[in-house]
């Protein structure tokens, strides 16, 4: 496998980023999904990884979260390879919300969020005042205080996802990785979730790395966008530089027009496709002209 001949436009030439992948190759058994990839996660920013199905974006995130052992290269956290550091020590610095976490039957919201404190506890020091405080703060940040006594199985999808984020927050890390945190949510809850993460980043300075499916929401919420295809980075940088018609064509194989999002002024991808609306579905020439 040859190295990806791409100018990453790294924002971190000095190598000061706390979390970075250094020529990492990742995969399952004998197949390699991510090839020799290097990326630096800007500290205190929201980084979003996008790409088509099977491009290796989740695999990259799993590698960063030490869920996968690299086949080559390394993921460095504060200069140390994550998969060689005791996993508990990593858990004190790096939070993770995986794609399908399992809520144990009958577990209450406080109990679940409290489990996020595990890396800070030991067999002798099981639960303390600071744990109560951390849980209360995580509940407040995610607006789940009123759900505290509820059983997680009985919550709606959006509430449940907020509770999981609260658990990751209770872990009290400066870095948070999220694998498709909006997957099972409707569009209103997707926006709510991303607003929450953006707030968190702004207020607490938490570095966030997430994989998202929706390119337009990614463009709106990312400081730093990483576009992947076939296990390699195709483009990287601010949404304005990454989300172009050429990159969308290369990454997704989709013809599109990129216009400014009328709400956020970030790039908005409008797919072309072969059908241009059913008869009678047009909003009329007036609005069309406005765009």
């Amino acid at each position: 496998m040859s190295a990806a001949p791409i100018d990453h436009g790294l924002e971190d030439p000095a190598g000061t980023a706390r979390l970075r992948a250094d020529a990492v190759s990742l995969g399952y058994d004998r197949t390699t999904v991510v090839h020799d990839l290097s990326v630096a996660v800007p500290d205190g920013k929201v980084t979003v990884i996008v790409g088509g199905n099977g491009c290796g974006k989740s695999t990259l995130l799993r590698g960063m979260a030490r869920l996968l052992r690299p086949q080559g290269g390394a993921v460095l956290l504060d200069g140390e390879a994550v998969h060689t550091v005791p996993t508990r020590k990593v858990a004190q610095k790096l939070g993770l919300l995986p794609q399908n976490p399992i809520a144990p039957e009958g577990v209450t919201v406080v109990d679940l969020v409290g489990r996020g404190r595990h890396p800070h506890q030991s067999a002798l020091r099981r639960w303390g005042r600071d744990d109560d405080t951390a849980v209360a703060e995580a509940l407040a940040l995610t607006d789940t205080t009123d759900l505290a006594e509820r059983v997680v199985d009985e919550l709606s999808g959006g509430q449940r996802q907020r509770v999981w984020i609260a658990m990751a927050l209770a872990q009290g890390t400066d870095l948070l990785l999220l694998d498709e945190p909006t997957t099972y949510l409707d569009v209103a809850h997707q926006v709510e979730m991303l607003d929450l993460l953006a707030d968190l980043n702004e207020r607490a300075g938490t570095t966030i790395v997430m994989v998202l499916h929706d390119l337009n929401l990614s463009a709106r919420y990312a400081d730093h966008l990483v576009a992947m295809k076939e296990g390699r980075i195709v483009a990287e940088g601010t949404p304005a530089t990454v989300v172009t018609e050429a990159v969308v064509r290369e990454v997704f194989g989709l013809e599109s027009r990129v216009i400014p999002d009328p709400v956020s002024h970030t790039p908005l991808v409008v797919p072309v496709g072969r059908h241009l609306g059913r008869p009678g579905s047009s909003v009329g020439p007036a609005l069309a002209k406005e765009l």
Partner: protein, 356 residues
């Protein structure tokens, strides 16, 4: 980038952190769990008392206390029966019940599957096959057979783990069921070649029974529990994290190696139980879900251990005294209760939600 003119207000209405509410909310489930444990401990003690005081030889409570305290009541036969027969038998039932209850619940919790109990993934049948092999094919008798059963349990567990290639739940259950079937055919083959008398001896290693248990068994079981229960308590904290799924657990600093260690402790508990009383059918399978049911659906390993003890003490009492003139092995009764329970669990699973 241009600034947004009017930023939409966040959907979230934030309240300030409320530490008191967190404390209060944490207290509810903990109090319930404490009550469940206290209640189960009382029931277990009551079952133990019933096994000692009632039956073919009955004792008044003061008499029993005096005999146990070593004071004596001038009736040597009564003293002998209580101290040398009833007491060790009841204590073996207690210890074996604790072993199976705790071990089974750890299996079900780590594998996140109520079907993944040691009975169903072949560990009990493995113990049976090893014991029957020792008895019938090697002609061994006595304690060696119990050791063979324990070795069989551990060996089968390792085999299932190795073939399944990990402790990912579904594969492990399927491999376990397959290996169970193979072990059953080993048992059947051995039986076809056995003399009637030997077959009678071997039967105990198929269903499980505490009849004929004496002080040596009690001592060994107590020693094993004295080591394994603290280990389980020590590592039990990680159990609450492994429940969240492998990825989330790793994120919180608990590797799958930790889960395997917990499973190994559970296998040792089950092996000790099997050595003490044979593979008491479905005991490990029943205890966990019953304890969960009492604890509002939440996992309770301690609760499961006490449920296991109560069930075995109860089954032994019923089998000895309440069913006609015959002595029915405890394992036959737990099996009779366990099979419909298994069907109920499957039917409940099919309907999706658990009843509350």
């Amino acid at each position: 980038m241009t600034a947004v003119e009017e930023r939409p207000a966040s959907v979230l209405v934030r309240t300030p952190p409320d530490v008191d509410r967190v404390r209060r909310a944490r207290r509810g489930p903990r109090r319930r769990h404490a009550l469940v444990i206290a209640g189960l401990a009382a029931v277990t003690f009551a079952a133990l008392a019933v096994n000692l005081l009632l039956g073919d030889y009955t004792y008044t409570f003061p008499d029993a206390v005096r005999i146990l305290a070593g004071v004596g009541i001038d009736r040597p036969t009564a003293e002998f029966i209580l101290l040398q027969q009833k007491l060790p038998r009841a204590l073996v039932a207690l210890c074996v019940g604790l072993c199976f209850g705790a071990g089974g619940a750890v299996f079900q919790t780590v594998l996140r599957n109520p079907l993944a109990s040691p009975d169903i993934v072949g560990i009990s049948v493995g113990a049976s096959a090893a014991a029957v092999f020792a008895l019938l094919a090697l002609g061994l008798r006595g304690n060696v057979v119990a050791v063979a059963a324990a070795v069989g349990a551990i060996g089968t567990a390792l085999l299932v783990r190795w073939v399944a290639g990990g402790i990912g739940s579904y594969r492990l259950v399927l491999v376990g069921v397959g290996i169970s079937a193979a072990m059953i055919s080993v048992v059947h083959y051995l039986f076809t070649r056995a003399a009637v008398f030997d077959a009678q001896l071997a039967l105990r290693w198929l269903t499980g029974s505490v009849s004929g248990a004496g002080w040596p068994e009690v001592r060994i079981l107590l020693a094993v529990l004295a080591v394994l229960l603290p280990v389980l308590w020590w590592s039990g904290r990680a159990l609450r994290i492994t429940e969240l799924g492998e990825d989330a657990a790793t994120g919180l600093g608990v590797t799958s190696r930790r889960a395997e260690l917990l499973m190994f402790v559970a296998v040792l508990l089950v092996a000790a139980g099997v050595a003490g009383a044979g593979p008491v059918s479905f005991l490990a399978f029943l205890a966990g879900p019953i304890a969960r049911g009492l604890n509002a659906g939440r996992t309770s390993i301690a609760g499961a251990a006490l449920v296991g003890a109560t069930l075995l003490l109860g089954a032994d009492y019923v089998g000895q005294y309440l069913i006609g003139d015959v002595n029915v092995p405890a394992g036959v009764l737990t099996g009779a209760v366990g099979a419909p329970f298994l069907l109920w669990l499957m039917a409940r699973g099919a309907s999706g939600r658990s009843p509350r």
